[in-house]
């Protein structure tokens, strides 16, 4: 097939990101030609500020070097400005006469700085802050001149002022409004910021309006004059008063513009052959000026250019971080407060910390952080996810404690960590490795960092810390992923929720059906999505959808736990932690007969036989089975253990028969697959010797019945279980526990443990269904029992059925 021709105008961050995404999806669809007015390959404009501040150099910030264009067969016209688009002949013409024809045109012309229309604006030494040329002009001015004036105290203006100061100039920031960064900060935070910038030597003139720039004898600017008559010396004037989408070219070609090139949710302009992305665009009336939303646009646009037709861009919520080393400011959302909203404020002037959270109807709608921005990413996530925070409202202000979890105690601020500090304990990745990968590969998302460094790709407990390192390295470009709408994996655009819904609504029964219906991008999915789909199918359509062992992780396929040396461990079930001399004898015999190297008590109160070769498993299970022992599912996303204490059976304090309650629960739940593993505990009194306070379902006996707790977790991040309700009888314990677990099984996303699930949907939601709605509770209970009925012990099956035994047999060469 002949390749189509794609021409891109504007060789900047949004455009090149679109090309990268497009090449990933459809490497051979287009012959690509790029025009860029700047004589450089695509670079990271954001990092011009660290370059100006002397913290980085220009070569450091190139995102796509010339070799990249070459490797992808892209014709680059660097330094050529397109002056005309001929939509009839479908070609573009540059100022120097270079022409290129297109089948599809991509406009990515960015924006132009707004220049105040005052006398003297064209004098030498008056510049804006937008590109490499401006940055070089500032660096040069700092070598030869003394007085700099920055007009505009927004993000750009302050970063410019800071850089010029660091390069030795005497810098005054002039601003029309009453406080600095008035569009990102409230007055309190702005005053704190101004103070610390003044401490760095910057001067501020607020509420001042520029009247004229006065030239000196050499023709270079020499002073700035204000409306009130005052005037100060200025050999360099940087205008940072705002940007305007660059739309002239589009307008001259008759493409509809309105404060930006108007595009729909697929980033298409009014001419269907012409797409547009980046700062030049107006989407639903909004033109964005930060890269994170532009990258989202790039992804959607690339998808449509590749003619996959999936995905819509629906607008973004943005957050702001100032990139001035040593100063931490963060703001997001609707932070000004006002009517119908609540504000939670923490202000410690001496400690230099100010935090304001704005809430509306139990969701976070805005945040301003000054001095301590460690939790910025977390608040931003809550805000974007519109998560109900009623349950955590009273400690919301104190942050996520995302860092400081087990294994990472004491490390609270990513920026302050030395490069040698270990961040990911599982994969041995240090901060320096992560920063280097982010810089050399131009990474912007946590997924990219995971792929390149493996940091946070195993147990995930360091995710928060890695996010912070990412945020502090790339500055405002960092955008945490939408957890609610995150695609299942790279094989699809669809998030977990949509997949679950489709399976239910369309009555899909097999993995290929789901992949076909939801237009999976890969033929067989991958090791991330297939296990999720398999679980969704069997939990939604029990006894109807067929389990696919090849879509299960090895432990669930082999019904034992793979060890680092490739052998397996076997943990028989001990209902409620109870055993008998006969059972112990069987276990002892098996351990001797098969020369099991290690026998250990597990943290789940049962016995682990470790180091058994795979081909011996069926024989081991056969022997255990004869003694009445069945699979303990210590390997699955399934019911694991129900821990019990001795309880009223023996204990002098016991109020309820916790052992028999535990055994009943464990028998009811035998064979239950779940989004993640599920652990229960039953204690006979509030002394709680079974540790019910950190279980997915915790039951605590009290004189008048049982207290039920849910969503605890004792693993990576300890979570104390939350009180659900109190019940009177054993039957109620079974019914409520079953209903809660079935709700979790039906609603949670794969690999969400109960604590993550409840954090996402809110405890209120669970209570409304499980506690307050008796008919729904009973339905859930029944659906769980239905799903579990006729479940066969997988060990027994592996022993009895030759087909299943194949998994364990080694082939011999004839």
């Amino acid at each position: 097939m002949k390749k189509l021709k794609l021409v891109m105008i504007g060789n900047g961050m949004a455009g090149c990101r679109t090309l990268e995404e497009l090449i990933k999806l459809a490497p051979d669809m287009y012959d690509i030609t790029v025009f860029g007015a700047e004589p450089h390959p695509n670079y990271n404009r954001i990092l011009l500020s660290p370059v100006l501040a002397g913290e980085m150099t220009l070569p450091d910030i190139v995102l796509n070097d010339l070799a990249w264009y070459e490797a992808n067969d892209i014709t680059l016209h660097a330094g050529k400005t397109v002056t005309k688009i001929d939509r009839v002949k479908r070609k573009v013409i540059a100022a120097d006469g270079t022409e290129a024809e297109y089948d599809r045109l991509l406009l990515a012309t960015g924006s132009s700085p707004f220049i105040l229309p005052v006398p003297g604006k064209d004098l030498e030494g008056v510049i804006a802050y937008r590109d490499i040329a401006d940055t070089e002009a500032m660096i040069d001015a700092a070598r030869h001149h003394k007085h700099a004036v920055v007009i505009g105290a927004g993000l750009l203006g302050l970063e410019a002022a800071n850089g010029l100061k660091l390069r030795g100039m005497d810098v005054t920031v002039v601003h029309l409004a009453d406080w600095i960064m008035e569009r990102q900060l409230d007055k309190t935070a702005a005053d704190l910021l101004q103070k610390s910038l003044e401490a760095k030597g910057l001067k501020f003139l607020l509420g001042k309006q520029t009247a004229e720039l006065v030239g000196g004898e050499s023709g270079r600017v020499a002073a700035i004059k204000f409306k009130d008559g005052e005037s100060i010396p200025a050999e360099l004037v940087v205008m940072a008063v705002g940007i305007r989408p660059s739309t002239q070219l589009a307008e001259s070609a008759g493409i509809h513009c309105n404060r930006g090139i108007v595009v729909n949710d697929t980033l298409q302009t009014f001419d269907p052959k012409v797409y547009a992305v980046g700062e030049c665009v107006a989407h639903r009336g909004i033109a964005y000026g930060l890269v994170a939303p532009l990258f989202e646009q790039a992804k959607v646009c690339a998808n449509h250019l590749a003619m996959h037709g999936i995905g819509r861009y629906q607008g973004s919520v943005t957050s702001t971080k100032l990139k001035v080393t040593g100063i931490d400011v963060f703001s997001a959302g609707d932070f000004m407060g006002g009517e119908n909203v609540d504000e939670i404020v923490l202000h410690d002037p001496a400690g230099g910390v100010y935090k304001k959270l704005v809430l509306k109807d139990d969701t976070l709608v805005g945040a301003v952080l000054y001095g301590d921005t460690a939790d910025g990413a977390w608040y931003f996530q809550l805000l974007k996810d519109k998560q109900n925070v009623a349950e955590i409202r009273d400690h919301l202000m104190f942050g996520s404690h995302h860092v400081g979890d087990v294994g990472h105690a004491g490390q609270s601020k990513a920026a302050a960590m030395p490069d040698t500090a270990e961040v990911c304990g599982c994969n041995g990745v240090c901060k320096g490795d992560i920063v280097k990968a982010i810089k050399t590969h131009g990474l912007f998302t946590i997924d990219d960092v995971r792929k390149h460094t493996k940091a946070s790709s195993s147990c995930g407990s360091c995710t928060g810390l890695v996010e912070q390192i990412l945020a502090s390295t790339v500055g405002g470009a960092y955008q945490p992923a939408d957890t609610k709408d995150k695609p299942v994996c790279g094989c699809t655009e669809h998030p977990h929720g949509a997949v679950r819904a489709a399976i239910r609504e369309q009555h899909l029964l097999t993995i290929p059906e789901v992949m076909h219906f939801m237009e999976w991008k890969t033929p067989n999915g991958c090791a991330s999505c297939r296990p999720a789909l398999n679980y969704y199918l069997i939990s939604t359509w029990p006894h109807e959808a067929k389990d696919d062992p090849q879509s299960r992780f090895i432990n669930e396929r082999a019904h034992a736990n793979i060890q680092r040396d490739g052998t397996y461990s076997v943990i028989p079930r001990m209902w409620g932690g109870l055993t008998t001399p006969a059972e112990l004898r069987v276990i002892a015999d098996v351990a001797e007969k098969y020369e099991v190297p290690t026998v250990k008590m597990t943290g789940g109160a049962r016995i682990d036989l470790l180091g058994i070769p795979k081909d011996k498993l069926p024989a081991v299970w056969a022997d255990l089975g004869k003694g009445g022992l069945v699979s303990g599912h210590a390997y699955g996303k399934s019911i694991r253990t129900v821990k019990t204490c001795v309880g009223a059976e023996h204990c002098r304090f016991g109020t309820q028969l916790s052992m028999s309650m535990g055994v009943k629960l464990e028998k009811m739940l035998f064979g239950m697959w779940a989004p993640h593993k599920v652990k229960l505990a039953v204690s006979g009194c509030p002394r709680n010797c079974a540790e019910a306070g950190i279980k997915d379902v915790g039951v605590i006996g009290v004189d008048s019945g049982y207290e039920l707790y849910v969503a605890g977790n004792g693993g990576i991040k300890t979570e104390v279980a939350m009180f659900l309700c109190k019940v009177k009888s054993d039957e109620e314990v079974m019914e409520y526990s079953a209903a809660f677990l079935q709700l979790y099984r039906e609603e949670a996303y794969y690999l969400e443990r109960t604590c993550h699930y409840v954090a996402r949907v809110g405890l209120e939601h669970v209570k409304k269904i499980v506690v307050e709605n008796a008919p729904r509770r009973k339905e859930l209970h029944e659906r769980l029992l239905f799903a579990l009925q006729d479940y066969e012990d997988p060990w027994g099956e592996a022993v009895a059925k030759p087909v299943k035994r194949k998994e364990y047999e080694i082939l011999e060469i004839a």
Binding site: K454, P549, Q550, R564, K806, I810, A814
Partner: protein
């Protein structure tokens, strides 16, 4: 056939019927060259790799097969079945062996 291969006098050996390997699954063969994992894809192609992950030696035979890639069960490196190379950004290679399918039978050549 290359000169080295001829010198080693390797021959095709019959392993099993195709049906004895599950689709998107694998079987392990013990050999003088160590354990070999024989994979079958959803499209019924057959591949054989040394059953040792280039990362830390995990048994690739126990991984999940999707397309022509197996994900190691230990730390989730992705290994290409055709040539044993790790999928970027990881780097490393597991030795691959010649296999063929003839009349529903799987044959292996130790080279």
């Amino acid at each position: 056939m290359g000169a080295i291969e001829t010198a080693m006098k390797t021959e095709w050996k019959r392993l099993c019927a195709l049906d004895e390997i599950p689709q998107q699954g694998s079987r392990v063969v013990k050999s003088a060259k160590g354990d070999i994992a024989v994979f079958r894809t959803a499209a019924d192609e057959i591949f054989a790799l040394h059953d040792k992950c280039p990362h830390k030696g995990g048994p690739l035979s126990q991984g999940i097969v999707a397309g022509k890639v197996v994900t190691c069960p230990m730390h989730s490196w992705k290994i290409q079945l055709e040539d044993g190379e790790a999928v970027a950004p990881d780097k490393g290679c597991s030795k691959s062996f010649a296999v063929k399918l003839e009349g529903g039978e799987v044959w292996l050549k130790l080279g």
